[in-house]
């Protein structure tokens, strides 16, 4: 009996410890690696001391749960950053404030593509006409192609928020019974 109680209490203690360490590891994950530790830069390179570590810059910006852990769109809109529109300063840029709804999403919520945040960063020709036709519905976008790095996947999953964030694009609920799915 004593042995059973002892084993049970050790198991419970271990589970508590596991929960604590998992939380601690999440906290570690939420921070940015220094260049010396990121597994990408050569720690023997003496020039690393002159380069900025990601956390020094990104830690001051609106946070996000994925990618660089920065909400880049909000950082720009709220004035945390003022990225230039041209190499020589400011150039006139074309911004569009229309939204495209993609209906062919099966049982998932429909996709709403907002032009506004995209045209704050990108020129029309970055997407049109090579990646997307300008005519709505004329481009055969599929999730499998996106996961292979085509269409939205040219940027999302590489530099803009990753493809783990389903609901940010699939944001328009289906009506009727399908909504509960």
């Amino acid at each position: 009996m004593i042995r059973i109680v002892s084993t049970t209490s050790t198991l419970a203690g271990s589970i508590l410890l596991l929960a604590f360490v998992c939380l601690a590891s999440t906290a570690v994950y939420a921070e940015w690696q220094t260049l010396k530790e990121d597994g990408l830069h050569d720690p023997l390179n003496p020039a690393l001391q002159w380069l900025q570590n990601p956390g020094d810059a990104l830690g001051r910006m609106p946070s996000d749960s994925a990618g660089n852990k920065v909400d880049w769109v909000r950082a720009f809109e709220d004035g945390y950053i003022r990225p230039r529109s041209s190499i020589h300063g400011e150039a006139e840029v074309k911004q569009l404030d229309t939204e495209i709804i993609m209906n062919d999403t099966g049982s998932l919520p429909r996709v709403m593509f907002p032009h506004k945040p995209h045209t704050r960063w990108l020129d029309c020709e970055n997407c049109h006409e090579q990646i997307f036709k300008s005519k709505a519905g004329a481009t055969p976008v599929t999730m499998s192609k996106i996961l292979e790095g085509e269409y939205c996947g040219v940027c999302h999953g590489a530099v803009s928020f990753p493809l783990t964030e389903c609901n940010r694009c699939h944001s328009v609920p289906l009506n009727g019974t399908a909504k509960s799915q």
Binding site: L40, A66, I87
Partner: protein, 132 residues
């Protein structure tokens, strides 16, 4: 009793192994969207280049490099050479000693671990651009 203790230690070790492995694997987490360029670097005797998207997008909108400077939005699709950079193409449009450091500061760009392949790195990988 000693047998019991050994069992407890084994159990504890097994339970702790998973989060410890998670932490260790996360210790080598490159920043999302960092790009490694190593088409020519190591062949020419220098470290691979690490290009941090995060640093540059604080200062420039995507359109500057991907329209004005002509960088294709596909890792490996751009034939970046030192000759081109010195002539003011690609990175050389800014890394000219006025907007950013000059090409004489080799180690600031050629800062990567030897042996890495050209590609885009960071978490949340898909089958996409990172693996082409």
């Amino acid at each position: 009793m000693p047998v019991c203790k050994i069992r407890h230690i084994r159990l504890l070790a097994a339970v702790l192994a998973v989060p410890i492995l998670v932490i260790v694997s996360l210790q080598t987490q490159a920043e999302y969207a960092d790009v490694v360029l190593n088409r020519n670097s190591e062949k020419e005797g220098v470290r691979p280049v690490v290009y941090p998207h995060w640093f540059h997008r604080i200062r420039f909108q995507c359109r500057v490099c991907h329209t004005e400077l002509g960088f294709e939005m596909r890792v490996g699709a751009n034939k970046v050479t030192m000759e081109g950079i010195i002539d003011g193409k690609f990175c050389g449009a800014c890394h000219d000693g006025e907007t950013a450091w000059t090409v004489e500061n080799c180690d600031l760009c050629h800062s990567g671990l030897p042996g890495m392949e050209t590609g885009i790195t960071g978490g949340h990988k898909t089958l996409g651009p990172g693996n082409w």
